[in-house]
């Protein structure tokens, strides 16, 4: 048993972890009750679990919680809320860029990291950025439109 101090969505939290290998995803979902980051593959292949660590998009299913240290973790919940959505969340609503929505956490978090370093990405930039985020419903074109909309806002 080890105590782990983390900074999640601008709040310091302390969790108890009995295995240093436990991925961050399980801390966020099960210890902190967050639902934004989702379990998709556990292999870093699909992107459903994406969160930000110090502004970088990270696959939380594949990075041990014990390795985060003082890194600032932001999840989909930390980006915005129904009442105060981030411009990307609003753009996804405006474009109705969801089918089942299971992958959408990863799409928004990956895109937020892109917009932070490139505020007005082209369609090609967006497609390349999301090349490792999988969607099975076929919502891709709406997702790209939503990110373009946010990039123009």
């Amino acid at each position: 048993m080890a105590s782990l101090a983390l900074n999640v969505n601008s709040r310091p939290v302390t969790v108890t972890v009995d295995d240093p290998d436990m991925p961050l995803l399980y801390v966020l979902r099960n210890e902190l009750g967050l639902r934004g980051p989702r379990f998709g593959c556990g292999l870093g292949q699909c992107g459903a679990c994406t969160v930000h660590v110090d502004g970088q998009a990270v696959r939380s299913c594949s990075v041990p919680a014990s390795s985060i240290g003082a890194g600032k973790i932001v999840t989909l919940e930390g980006l915005g809320s129904v009442e105060h959505p981030h411009k990307l969340q609003q753009a996804f609503i405006d474009e109705q860029a969801v089918q089942c929505g299971y992958c959408i956490n990863g799409m928004i978090m990956q895109a937020a990291a892109l917009l932070a370093r490139s505020p007005h990405p082209s369609e090609d930039d967006i497609r390349q950025e999301l090349a490792n985020n999988l969607c099975r419903c076929g919502t891709h074109l709406r997702i790209v439109r939503a990110i373009r909309r946010a990039g123009e806002a």
Partner: protein, 733 residues
């Protein structure tokens, strides 16, 4: 149970798992199938089965159809609210709860609006008449002098009564009147509009509760450990191998069903990876390299003749020009982005299972049989999972959860890992189709014959994996059924015969995957039609229009032709290295509903065989459109998902089991590869609404195959259309 207790607070749903349990539930201890006297009716023939109005005038609708990520929740709400003249924010929809919702059949087959939505429409129309009649009595005015606006009935001289006041003397309970007058479409305010989906704000901010998010107090976490080979038997389990792990790991074994249960999710995962088990060395699968020979050699148990016109043998024998071709279609997996998950608990012999199943009512029967409890003691409650696109692993995860909850006596959550989903969800079976056709001396289509090879269907249900491994009844048999549709063609041919040969077995547990059968059948039919058109020297579009004799069908064909500029040849790149092609495909879905015409535009690299679908045009007529943007979203999804299946996907296996166990070994289409999709929808508000969720997928494979032929002058009759197959076609004569 009071209606207000059922009212599902959206805010509560978004905010709190505890609130979710309360708001979805009649008390869990009375969660029986036949609700106790005074319980909620689940009759599909009664207004009170589908609708409840509380004292505030808030309406709760109960749907056996569920939202699988298609927007169906919003769509069904539009239908009900429209018919009642109710604002959407005074309507709540409860989906898929065997204690609360009528059995409307599985959410499949593009029938949620066409059948499920129409049941709700008629229930609402009946309730509307009842409310008007009550108001007429109370207000002393003829019903014809009343109007409803925003959930309030208005009478002469400013008199008004809200729905809440109208149920003060008792709920609206009566048989649904199929003849109850429906609102004229010209008066629609909600139906026909792109109402934003009510689930999307929660889904983009992390508040939405998916099946995978659901938690119960005292709940344990489980992982299943599947055999290393299909058919392998469990010989020995070394429980000591996990005893040193944290998390109070327990091993559950029943026959060949093996699982670990622990206090935390990570402990269960570690234990599942650590547990030592010995299985028999079993290898019963056929050789993948010759899978289609295996399909052809499988015993045929019976035939479905799906069309039989004229004398095909004579017509083929007498044809001036005969053509034959064989098509095959690979095994596909559903590929849900979220692996299957379920939670079950047993309290005083009452079993409750939270599940993302597309079919809670049939699942309930299956689970009851497996668990050895009366159906009345089994309740299944739907929570949305990741998109499933047919019967995937959700039902099997439900079986796992029920088995484990019974075994350990505490609530159990089972979450499949990626390899469980890719390895063990039931698959779209391998399909072989043989076509023959004949042209007369004038080049007219004179004969058409199709032979289709599919596993037999003897049951509505796919067997439950966990139940089968445990040696328990699983109330299912070889499937999928109902895949014979669209094996017959919508064309007038003087002699035609189409036969579906039903096979005694298929290598992997078969299931339905989006547009099951219709997709494979339409692939062969529409590609072969192109071959015959080419042999006849006819334009494939003109020939289709000539042979369908159907104005609605002709309209989608003419529309798609105009959209893509069909009669103008595409310019070819000057380099000669790549070739561009365009291919058409047409569908009259199941020969009675939804018309689709589509054109694929592809780029083929003549050297590498690389295939890119760069644009896809769809003209679509599904009758009355409830939510145009929702329909468009579904059509886009149909195209993109099926392009992925056609250019990339094939389940691989060795003699033991599936070997494509992740996204690296089973790649799907990625963002840089997604085509532009151009859609035109024809709205016919005065006609019945037909399905949207499957039809477009059916036309995609042949449109691409025909486009490849247009580009390189060679046919590839095998899905997936891989670079290797294209190179082989280019090198062939």
């Amino acid at each position: 149970m009071s209606v207000s207790a059922l009212r599902l607070s959206r805010r509560g749903l978004l905010r709190s798992t505890a609130a979710l349990v309360v708001s979805f539930s009649v008390p869990l201890r009375s969660a029986g199938a036949q609700p106790a006297a005074g319980g909620k009716s689940v009759s599909p023939n009664a207004v009170e089965g589908f609708l409840a109005i509380d004292a505030t005038g808030h309406v709760t609708a109960f749907a056996g159809k569920v939202d699988l990520g298609t927007g169906m929740q919003t769509t069904l709400m539009q239908i009900v609210a429209e018919e009642l003249d109710l604002p959407l924010d005074r309507l709540t929809l409860v989906q898929g709860d065997t204690a609360l919702t009528p059995d409307q059949g599985p959410t499949s087959g593009s029938l949620s609006v066409e059948r499920g939505g129409m049941q709700l429409r008629h229930a609402a129309a009946t309730a509307r008449q009842a409310l008007l009649a009550r108001a007429a009595t109370r207000l002393g005015a003829p019903a014809g002098a009343l109007r409803i606006q925003d959930g309030t009935v208005f009478g002469p001289g400013g008199a008004q009564l809200g729905f809440g006041a109208l149920v003060a003397d008792g709920p609206v309970t009566m048989p649904i009147d199929p003849a109850a007058p429906l609102k004229p479409p010209a008066d629609y305010k909600l139906v026909g509009r792109s109402v934003p989906r009510i689930d999307i704000p929660g889904k983009v901010t992390g508040g939405f509760v998916y099946m995978q998010d659901f938690r119960l107090p005292g709940m344990l976490h489980a992982r299943v450990i599947r055999p290393p080979a299909i058919g392998a038997t469990l010989q020995h389990v070394d429980e000591a191998s996990v005893q040193a792990l944290p998390g109070h790991v327990r091993v559950v074994r029943r026959g060949n069903f093996l699982a670990v249960v622990a206090d935390t999710e990570w402990a269960a995962i570690k234990a599942s990876q650590t547990l030592t088990a010995t299985w028999s060395d079993t290898a019963i699968l056929p050789d993948q390299a010759t899978i289609y020979d295996y399909v052809r050699a499988t015993k045929v148990v019976h035939d479905n003749v799906t069309s039989d016109v004229g004398d095909v043998d004579a017509a083929l024998a007498g044809a001036a020009h005969r053509l034959s071709a064989s098509y095959d279609f690979a095994i596909h997996t559903h590929g849900s982005i979220g692996p299957s998950c379920a939670v079950a608990q047993v309290v005083d012999g009452q079993v409750t299972c939270w599940t993302a199943s597309q079919s809670v009512h049939t699942l309930r029967t299956q689970l009851a049989a497996m668990a050895g409890v009366p159906v009345a003691n089994m309740r299944c409650i739907y929570l949305a999972g990741a998109g499933c696109y047919g019967r995937n692993g959700h039902e099997d995860a439900a079986a796992d959860a029920v088995l484990l909850a019974q075994a350990v006596g505490q609530p159990v959550r089972v979450q499949w890992m990626r390899q469980d989903e890719h390895g063990w969800d039931p698959k779209g079976p391998p399909v072989v189709i043989d076509m023959q056709g004949g042209l007369d001396a004038a080049g007219h289509l004179a004969a058409w014959r199709g032979a289709f090879f599919y596993p037999d269907a003897t049951s509505q249900n796919v067997p439950l994996l966990g139940g089968d491994l445990a040696g328990l009844p699983s109330d299912g048999q070889l499937n999928p059924g109902n895949i014979v549709n669209d094996s017959a063609v919508p064309y007038h041919v003087p002699a035609m015969r189409t036969v579906v040969h039903r096979l005694a077995s298929t290598p992997l547990r078969p299931s339905w995957i989006r547009t099951p059968g219709r997709m494979q059948n339409t692939f062969a039919n529409e590609a072969f039609f192109d071959e015959l058109a080419a042999a006849a020297g006819a334009d494939p579009l003109d020939l289709r229009v000539r042979l369908i004799d159907d104005p609605r069908g002709a309209e989608v064909l003419h529309r798609v032709a105009a959209m893509c500029g069909w009669h103008t040849r595409l310019a070819q790149p000057a380099d000669g290295k790549t070739a561009i092609g365009r291919g058409l495909s047409y569908l009259y879905y199941e020969l009675y509903r939804t018309y689709v015409a589509a054109v694929a535009e592809v780029v083929v690299d003549r050297t590498t065989g690389d295939l890119r679908v760069r644009r896809f045009y769809v003209a679509h007529d599904c009758g009355q459109i409830i939510n145009p943007d929702g329909a468009r979203n579904q059509i886009e999804g149909n195209v993109i998902q099926t392009v992925s299946r056609v250019v990339k996907e094939a389940v691989t296996f060795d003699r033991k089991m599936v070997t494509s166990l992740d996204w690296a070994s089973y790649p799907i289409l990625t963002f840089p590869e997604v085509p532009e999709v151009v859609i035109e929808m024809i709205d016919r508000p005065d006609t019945p609404p037909w399905g949207v969720g499957e039809a477009t997928a059916a036309v995609v494979p042949a449109a691409i195959a025909n486009a490849v032929h247009d580009a390189i002058g060679r046919r590839v009759r095998s899905v997936p259309i891989t670079p290797d197959k294209i190179k082989q076609a280019l090198q062939g004569a």
